[in-house]
Every structure is written in C-alpha cells, then in structure tokens.
C-alpha cells in the first residue's frame, strides 16, 4: 500500500531528529545551550555501531551510543558549568571533537555491514493492514522516541522537578537563593541531552542506514537544534516540527519520482521552508513558551 510505504519512510526520517531535539530541549530549558548536538550524535553513531558489531547486539550498540553522547556532554558540562566557559564556543568545539573522534573510533569499521535493528512483531497485531506495520512493527528506537516526547512533556509541565528545571533556566539566581542546586540540575539536563543525541546517532548507524561512514549524520544535529528554537521549547510542537520536516522531505522525493518537473533544488529546500513557516505560526498563535530567559548564560554561584 502506497500511503503505508510513505508513512513508514517518514517515521524513519523523523525519528533521529526528534530524539536529538528532545534532549537538547531539556538542556536548553535548564539554561544550557549546547551547540554540540551534531558532535554527540555522530559519536553515538560510531560508538553504537562499533559496539554492536563487537557484541553482536543492537541493544548493546544503543547503550554504547547513549554512553558516548553522555560522555561528550559530560566534557561539555565540565567546561561550561564547572569552568563557566562560553557555551557557544564550547558547543562548537564539541562538534569538531565529535566529528574527528568518531572517525578515529570507526576507522576500522568502514565497510562493515550489519542487519538493521530488529523490529517488533506481535502475532496478529503486526499483520493488520496499514496500522500493523506502522504502530506495531517498528524498531525499539521509534518507540523510545515516542516515550521520550511523552516523558519529557510530562516531566517539564507536570512534575515538581520539571518546574524547578524551568525556573533555573529562567532565573538561576532566584532558584539558587531558594536553595535549588542550579549547577547539579543543569549538569543532569546536559547529560540527558547528550544521551538523547547519542541514541539518535545510534539509530542512524543501527536502524536507519546500518553501517558506519565518517560524518554520516550529515547535518542532522544542526537541524535538531533549529527545531528546538522554532518549536519554541515545547515538546509537542517539537514532535510536530520533526514529523513535518520528515514528511515534507519524503513527499518531495516521491514528487520527484513522479516527475512533476519542479526544480529539484527548490524541492530540497521545501522541508526547511515549510517547517520554519508552520512552527513560527504555531508559536505566534500561542503565547506560552518563549526562550528560557537565561539561555546560554553561565551561572557562577557565590559562596
């Protein structure tokens, strides 16, 4: 079925963006701007692939991807939280480090091949027409991305810890004077961002295109970063944005296959145009969700 094929392709194209962006959203909500998403993602891709090849297990690979992203985020946190270094510069450095280091780690695994991560199969349910493969036939990464959006939304807006995290992102000085541990919570948020980016990277090298080549993220980390901003720091708008981007990307490929005769350069820019337009309109329509007031500003507690 045609629609089914399109939806399945859209899901694989949108999932890595969504996972990386959700992590960055939480970090930014706490006031930490980490521009190193691309670097953490590509490290997740290379470490995830290497670990999966060596162990023969996609789960070990996914965990290694999470670990690699978290480790890089920890380095970033050390620089920006402990040493109060500039977040923009540190984030860019993290991307450069990640792109180089991932090439080094993956060098011996270029050309290695693996089957894609296994997909869920429930007898009966997965065989249903249309809804079966889409709802009950995905790999673990896709379900994880949905859980991440649900969990993050609940955490940020329905839990006390989430309220604290948002407060710290808006006004760390007040939060600090109320006795909240600003740096510790920012550290946790940054590590969560790294873990999500690492998982998104692992999805690229284990599920989406199961092999390793250097630089295989091809800019997806930057798209994830942009999505966070255009979704004005809301998980639901972020999910809508990631899926809209994925949908337009895939639809323009289909349209090209039908030979509509529209210049391909224009078609390739459509996902960006459409996503920016829709998300900006959505953010305008609702008041809530401006940028965290202290985003990107270092906080040094006076003792």
């Amino acid at each position: 079925m045609f629609l089914e094929a399109i939806v399945l392709t859209v899901i694989t194209a949108s999932t890595p963006l969504l996972m990386a962006a959700v992590g960055e959203l939480v970090a930014e909500r706490s006031g930490v701007l980490n521009l190193g998403v691309e670097g953490m993602m590509v490290m997740g891709a290379s470490c995830g692939f290497v670990a999966a090849i060596l162990s023969g297990s996609s789960i070990v690979g996914a965990l290694a991807g999470i670990g690699a992203g978290t480790a890089l985020a920890a380095a970033f946190a050390f620089m920006t939280l402990r040493l109060a270094a500039n977040q923009v510069a540190s984030g860019l450095a993290l991307t450069i480090l990640g792109l180089g280091l991932s090439g080094l780690i993956g060098a011996d695994f270029v050309g290695a091949r693996r089957d894609p991560a296994p997909k869920l199969h429930i007898d009966g349910l997965s065989d249903l027409p249309f809804v079966g493969p889409i709802l009950f036939g995905q790999d673990g990464f896709v379900y994880a991305s949905v859980a991440l959006v649900l969990g993050t939304s609940w955490f940020l807006w329905r839990s006390r810890a989430g309220l604290t995290l948002r407060a710290i992102g808006d006004n760390p000085v007040s939060a600090h004077s109320l006795g909240h541990k600003v740096l510790r919570i920012r550290l946790l948020a940054t590590l969560f961002g790294g873990a999500c980016a690492g998982l998104a990277g692992a999805y690229l090298s284990l599920g989406y295109t199961p092999f390793w080549v250097k630089g295989m993220t091809a800019g997806r980390g930057w798209i994830a970063l942009a999505l966070v901003v255009f979704a004005s720091w809301s998980p639901w708008r972020l999910a809508a944005g990631a899926y809209l981007f994925g949908t337009v990307t895939i639809l323009q490929l289909y349209a090209q296959g039908y030979g509509l005769g529209i210049p391909s350069q224009l078609m390739s820019s459509l996902p960006y145009l459409a996503t920016i337009l829709v998300l900006v309109l959505m953010s305008r329509a609702r008041g809530r969700g401006a940028a965290p007031a202290s985003l990107g500003m270092p906080f040094v507690p006076d003792r």
């Binding site: 392709t9 194209a13 450069i96 180089g100 080094l104 990307t249 090209q256 005769g261």
Partner: protein, 358 residues
Amino acid sequence: MKRRDFLGGAAVTCSLAMFATAAPAADKLKVGFIYVGPIGDFGWSYQHDVARKALEKALGDKVQTTYVENVPEGPDAERAIEGLVRDGAKLVFTTSFGFMDATVKVAKRYPAVKFEHGTGYKRDTNLATYSGRFYEGRYVIGQLAGKMSKSGIVGYVASFPIPEVVSGINSFMLGAWSVRPDMKVKIVWVNAWFDPGKEADAAKTLIDQGADIITQHTDSPAAIQIAEQRGVHVFGQDSDMINFGPHAQLSAIVDNWSDYYIQRTQAVLDGTWKSGDVWGGLGSKMVVMAPFTNMPEDVRKMAEATVADISSGKLHPFHGPLYKQDGTLVVKAGAVLPDPDILGMNWYVKGIDEKAPQ
C-alpha cells in the same frame, strides 16, 4: 594513521588544514593529495586514498605521500594546496572538480611544482588534468538493468544536475534501451553527494514507485543496503560495495586511480613529466567493473562482451544516431559525440521523460 584521522576530522570544521606526514626524509619525492571528503566515505575519496597507498607500495622509499581530507571546494582549498607545497610536496594531486581554480592559482605561483587536477579542464605547463570515463561503465550497467528488470522501471538516485551526472543518466539509459527499448527511468535528486539517510530514503521512494533496479550517483552505500533489504537489484558506486548487498549488487563502477598515480609519479622521478589531459576509461582500466554477480550466465557474458567492445573502441556509448529530448539530431549515424560535448552535457537524450535539469 589513526591519529591522522582524528586530526583530519578536526580540520574539517575549523578549516584548519592539518598535515599527515610520514617520517621525514630529504631525498624522497614528496607527493601531496587533496581530498574533498573523508577517506572513510567508502566511495570517491576512499578510492583516491586506495591509489595513494598503492603508490607508496609500488615506489617504496622513493616517495613520501601526504594527504589532507575533507577540504571544502572553493577558495578555501587554495590554502590547503599551498600548505602541501610549502611542506615540500613536488607533485600534488587535487582530486575534485571544485578544486580547479584553486589549483590553477597555486600552480601559477609555484612553477617548479607539478600539479594534477582530477576531473577538471584547466591546464598549464605544470598543471595536468585527468579523469575517468565513468559513462562507459554506466552503459554497461544500463544494459544489465535492461536485462535484469522485471517491472521495466529503474530508479536513479542522483546528486546534483551537473554534466557528469547527466551524461551518466543518458549513457545508462542508452545501454538499457540497447537490450530493452521500453525501459523507463525515475530520477530523484537528493542534492547532496553524501547524506546516507537521504540516499536511503530516495531508494525506498523509488522502490515503492515500482523500480526493481536501483542505481546511484551519490557516494554512500545506503542505497545498496536498502536494495538488499527490499530484494531488488542495485549497482555499487566508486568502489565495490558487494559487502553491503551480497544478493543485490549486480556490479559496480570502480574508480581505479592507482596505475595513473604510479605512472605520473614515476614520470616526475624520471624527469619526463609533461602536462596533458588523460581521460581514461574501461580500455585504460581507469574505470573498472566489479565482478558481475547475481545474474544468469548469458547476461554476464553479454556484459563482458560490452566491456570488451567499449575497451577496444568498437562500441561508443554516445554513437549516432543520437537525438536530444526534443528530437534534434545531435550525432549522425556512424559518428560519435565528441569529448567536449560529453563533458558539457546538460540535456537528456530522446526517450527520457523527465524534465531536463536547468
């Protein structure tokens, strides 16, 4: 080797060219290479690096090679090329079309150094050009597609609408029509040389639209893997990608720069190097076909015969009569399309339904 990788990667983003040099030696000929992508791309830059290693192996301690990977095309390349020369390189290979003007400029500044620019057309007394006739390989795989397709639809994952890609599409379809006149092509431009995810999506899209043969003019093995998963046939690009599609790959067009690099370096060592233009194809083995796999014996024989005919010059992919899309006759029967016209090809041949790229 590993550390170089890391440094090279670091050089990408900050555009700081870092040089990977082996042990210094005074009397060795230093040969420099500039790559557009990572050597780990398993495609274009990877094959150039395979040739660099072959050069080191063949000429042993007479040469010392140096490379810079991930060099952006455009003015930035000038600095990287000049860096190699300052570092002592007496022969420099710049391996992508976009390095053309930068190479010309540096060559003017250092007349004693020899330069070789891959896939370009601007030459000087110390600047030679070389390229592969990849379209010859595309004619062969086009024939294979015509023989092996059941649906009669081929899906083409294309990068950018430049003459090299357009001539490849034309040659592929001329090959396909030579054995199956009703063959159709669907072309999807991903507007990138290297984006594994997008290449995979494009391949899925084409298969969903009925293509049962996929071919690509992009650099990663993503489309090969999709073809393997979906059970359709596919062709590798730049290097033999059979590992990614053991049941899917029919053949691959493999770039083979080794012989040329060894020969040109030897010429510098002998003092016989002269500027010129080499456009090697199947005949000179600058373009070679990966083993013909996953096909019946008679189809394999046909492909081998075609390779032999093209190599000997008996068959030219762009032989007359050749018509443009609108029906204009470009090449009369008995003649072939001249090289400059192949290099500048920006039109589709008659029979391709797609709108010609601008």
